[in-house]
Symmetry: C2
Subunit: 418 residues, 2 copies
């Protein structure tokens, strides 16, 4: 039995390694179109900032190392041109034919930007930009797109001392319809010297360097050509076992959609950590197990200019769209006891008025952001109510939290609105 | 209607303020035997360390400020000598009689140590020790008792540059039957120059200063004298509405027991944050609401010599005692991406083999301890299984976490043992 995995980054390698571990008799082959596998694209902004010294640090395994560690063969620079599922056969760009019994499609996503633009999505993009910056340090750089990558990248380039302008067509940062969040994050970025141009529909300002961070789209051309169905999001539709509509063909990672556990609808949120989990499940099922991936609650976090911003679940506007009757509060508190130099932290909570169920939240601050958003993510997964949050036995000691944590303060406020 | 609250620290003031806010017509009177109210005893080690400059920073409100802010009268230096519940009457030590309609007993806990010892429990203890240290800096100090307070205090005194010996009769730190935890924490403390003497049953070493941190016991003499029933733990038995066996008499905070949500049994875990929550519920119910306090999952955290140590739920040994058939794993991971200077973090998880239910966990590391223990505390409250943990959508970005969080790595290990 041969399992072929198309794609050698997060989802693909997780699937391959897990399948091989669960069934050593399986022949597992990974095909990666790029020349590197197993890299952390999320680390690219920190490479450009200089916090990561060399791009090789972002690479977990080379193909040889992966073979040694996981007993899985990887062929790099091998792009699949077509899948003929009736014959269980792949054709590579070089014309080679390869048989498979089981298939995992982990073709990822690609940057949505014009031809010949400078994106920051793959390791190759990052290395190209990194080398460009070494050879031609720009006096002025423009970052187009104020999503996660754009904001992190703008902060990273600014930290190098260059003039940076962050440009977006929308009037909001992070594509959130949230005036207060946009104002806070903008203020912090501007204080760090990043120029922020929002609601900007004209041509971008002149600069020596222009980087596109204008979004991603799932890589589904290959899958579509093979008759693999896409979902409403435009990514590959999968069951909770990560199966596509074709028997024995799984999909995982940034090319696949998943269930949003708050709205109950399919969603497409390309993220390395989700890709890893989906890959593990796809690999297990390809090896004959019956595992399920329960979906996501939509957790994300970024750090730019010293500020952490994190979300989970849905915003009030998204909740309304999903048919809830939401109430929301936003409170200011501190990350730890005031007498212990506690720094401001802002918590927003969204809940459903009819059931009291927590629907989402955001946390913003210099410190203590990741832990608090993770508590909310856990509460969302457990379908907790705001009332349930009030009873959370959260850790308290002055170096870590105020005696009444910001999450509890927010829950105490919100419970009055329900 | 008059509500009298005995005790003016965490639980008492929370109860008083909440009751008054919910029913402005209520006359609320707080009686505090000490001369300060509303202080953070948890901040005392940091006062002694010098991280908090002045003890007044540990005081939230003076009695006057509390009256102004909450419209609640507080009488300090007023100790209650007896409660005659049949007459709804209190007698103070000075012989004064005071009528009540509703009563909240929030008499707290006291240090368990010999007469004339130097404990560190109340603000007065802390201020006395603080002044002693200013006037007579000790060349050598001995801290008796290696629980939370003892360990934090030993770290704090050592940070001042004095020779410190931490002594305990047990062979373990933190009263946990955990050889690995004891070894790690001991190593870190010794590296900071704290001498650690465990399994020490003889007289303590000679020193200029000896501080007792040998544990607490609930202050229940007054309650017992009034016919208020105690529970098995020795603290006041309360319902989930914080009612005692006497009609109209509530108890909250360190003098009261509460439900352990993992074992389902009453427990006594004196902590400021729990006291606040119990107090809020007691106050609301004293004001005629019907609220409940759901109990605790046993979360605690401390920081000493730069190391954070946190627990929630039960240990494997405690799980066995509570009738579970526990399995446990302990894994080493990093608090964030390795290429982002991730530092070691150790996670231990305990689960029930029969149901797969998570029963407890611990987290140990320099950073990222509080957030991870809070996720586990939330999971415990929601009665999640280890399988559920695998699906947690935790925040990922290189400055915050590795792509597969330490909690998930631990859950992946543990699920194999079940």
């Amino acid at each position: 039995m041969r399992l072929v995995v198309i794609g050698g980054v997060a989802a693909g390698l997780s699937a391959a390694a897990r399948a091989k571990r669960l069934d050593a008799s399986l022949e597992v082959l990974v095909l990666e179109k790029g020349d590197q596998i197993s890299y952390s694209a999320c680390g690219l902004p920190y490479l450009l900032e200089g916090q990561v010294r060399d791009w090789r640090q972002l690479v977990g395994f080379t193909a040889d190392e992966f073979l040694g560690a996981k007993n899985v063969s990887v062929r790099t620079s091998t792009e699949v041109a077509a899948i003929a599922h009736s014959r269980r056969e792949l054709t590579t760009h070089s014309g080679e034919k390869l048989h498979y019994d089981k298939l995992v499609v982990a073709t990822g996503a690609r940057a949505r930007c014009p031809e010949q633009c400078m994106p920051l999505h793959t390791l190759a993009d990052g290395v190209r930009l990194w080398e460009h910056l070494r050879q031609t340090p720009p006096a002025r750089a423009v970052v187009l797109g104020a999503g996660y990558i754009g904001i992190e990248l703008a902060g990273a380039l600014r930290a190098r001392g260059w003039g940076v302008t962050l440009v977006d067509r929308s009037e909001h940062l992070l594509q959130r319809d949230d005036t207060e969040l946009t104002a806070t994050l903008r203020r912090v970025m501007e204080r760090h010297g990043v120029r922020v141009l929002l609601a900007h529909n004209g041509p971008p300002p002149e600069a020596e360097l222009t980087v596109h961070a204008t979004g991603l789209q799932p890589n589904v051309t290959l899958a579509e050509g093979a008759g693999i169905e896409l979902g409403r999001t435009g990514a590959i539709r999968v069951t909770e076992r990560m199966e596509t509509n074709l028997a024995g063909v799984f999909a995982a990672g940034d090319c696949a959609e998943t269930l949003h556990r708050v709205t109950g609808s399919p969603t497409w949120i390309p993220l390395g950590t989700t890709a890893n989990k989906m890959g593990r499940v796809a690999g297990a099922n390809a090896a004959g197990r019956r595992e399920r991936f329960p979906g996501v609650t939509g957790t994300s976090i970024l750090r730019a200019c010293g500020l952490g911003v994190a979300f989970t679940g849905v915003s009030q506007a998204q909740a309304r769209q999903a048919g809830f009757r939401p109430a929301a509060v936003r409170i200011q508190s501190r990350d730890r006891a005031a007498y212990f130099r506690g720094r401001p932290v802002t918590v927003e909570l969204v809940a459903d008025c009819e059931t009291g169920r927590l629907l989402g939240g955001s946390v913003l601050g210099e410190y203590g952001v990741e832990g608090r958003i993770n508590v909310l993510a856990t509460a969302l997964q457990a379908r907790m109510t705001v009332e349930d949050l009030l009873g959370l036995d959260l850790a308290y000691a002055p170096p870590y939290a105020p005696v009444m944590d910001a999450l509890l303060v927010a829950a105490q406020q919100l419970v009055k609105e329900l």
